[in-house]
């Protein structure tokens, strides 16, 4: 299992870089994960989404999809893509230290 070091702590990650144990995550790690995803600075709007992702994961055991985020996070889908250009659900989940949202089939 690969590891990564964020904010001075070693955490386990999967092949795509998602934390395998969301319990290892702390808010201090988020800016560094964000930079590795090409997001230079986390604004309050980014944090609104990251905290929402964490809360949803704790309540439901899986992160929300972009469409559900757009309906429930208070941030529109358009703005979500401006905040997390490479794919909001995936990138915000990685920064929030939760698993990649399950793809629907």
């Amino acid at each position: 299992m690969p590891t990564a070091t964020y904010a001075g702590h070693d955490v386990s990650v999967n092949d795509e870089g998602f934390l395998t144990d969301p319990g290892q995550w702390t808010e201090e790690m988020a800016p560094q994960i964000a930079r590795s995803e090409g997001i230079a600075e986390l604004t309050p709007r980014h944090w609104q989404v990251i905290r929402f992702m964490r809360a949803q994961y704790q309540a439901k055991g899986t992160g929300p999809t972009v469409r559900v985020l757009g309906k429930t996070s208070g941030v529109t889908v358009k703005e979500l893509y401006q905040l997390f250009p490479k794919g909001p659900a995936k990138v915000a989940a990685k920064i929030a230290g939760i698993p990649k949202p399950r793809g629907c089939i």
Partner: protein, 422 residues
Amino acid sequence: MKRIVILGGGTGGTLLANRLRRAYRPEAAEIVVVDRDDAHVYQPGLLFVPFGRAEARRLTRPRWRQLRSGISHCQARIDYVDVEKDRVYLQNGNALGYDVLIVATGAQLLPEETDGLTGPVWQRDVFTFYTPEGAESLRRALDRFAGGHLVVGIVDMPIKCPVAPLEFCFLADDYFRRRGIRDRVDLTYVTPLDGAFTKPVASRHLGGLLAAKGIELVTEFSTGTVQATGEPGEGGRLVSFDDREVPFDLAVIVPLHGGANYVGRSPGLGDELGFIPVDPHTLQAKVKPNVFALGDATDAPASKAGSVAHFEGEVLAGNVRRFLAGEALAASFDGHTNCFIETGGGRALLIDFNYDTEPLTGHYPSRLGLPLLRPSRLNHLGKLAFQPLYWHGLLPGRDIPGISPAMPARGKNRPADPAGHG
């Protein structure tokens, strides 16, 4: 006397009602099916309508006639469900109390939720084949189409029958070849997924088929807006949320899906998209023990497909009986899904999978069965033969010999265990 109320008389609701009616003596349980109309559409047939290979009106039969005698039906629109009071309120002012409620109202199309989709381009340059009317108007548009850029796109998941838009591409390729104009048509498949399909083995096979047929694949495209680029009839473009563009002369779009409207008006019943959160193995709703759901209406991580509703129906009929008898439920639904995929030229693929096992190569239901993930004439004939089986075997809730709700593991080629390669 117990009362079982089933909301929705589609595939899942009908076959469950018929199974339960056979399971209970008339004096033991009253079974009521509620639906807003009397038209049951064989949805898998809609795929063939745009190519003139099926007629929408021949795919539709009276809904109530598919129910066994002894099942009551109620033709009304649902206002909301009060799960606290165990009552369904109808828009005609009546209310129905229940001991057990089954939600089987499926998924609906929400084209108005995508910016511009239902604007001037809708039904002029942009069509969907997911409704009988849409499939018929697309047939007329394809008849007129003499060449140009045809785009087939999914706005976002989940959708009913996730393979149908891929099948549409394969059949369109075939259709334009037969008309002798394939060289004048650019075909593009646009998906929000990162490949042709969600699961790796099937995605490779289906992606390979797209490439072999000269169909361009555009992935991770989340459609934000559909724009007209000229007068209606002159085409337009899909614009993604991250500002990529795909121009088209004719577009075939699968709109966003959601649960039925009344779900949103029923406190606690549905999720953000109007689907019913259920235990994926027992199909009991999370909101209350006497509420269950099946088919496209649930949030279970299985395909929204008739085969899923069929397999769920067998498990759920048992669980409704167990629940009313005060017994523990069987957590036996494994996510089994089984789909024929038309690949054009009179051939089809078959895929068979469940929650844990992705679609694999091999044969179904055993080594001597139909080939999996490989185009074959036999699969195509299987798909055509399924329509009468749907009306006369599946909806009446009969067991189909050799086809069980649990996914068969035999006959499937397992990928090599990655651990075995060090």
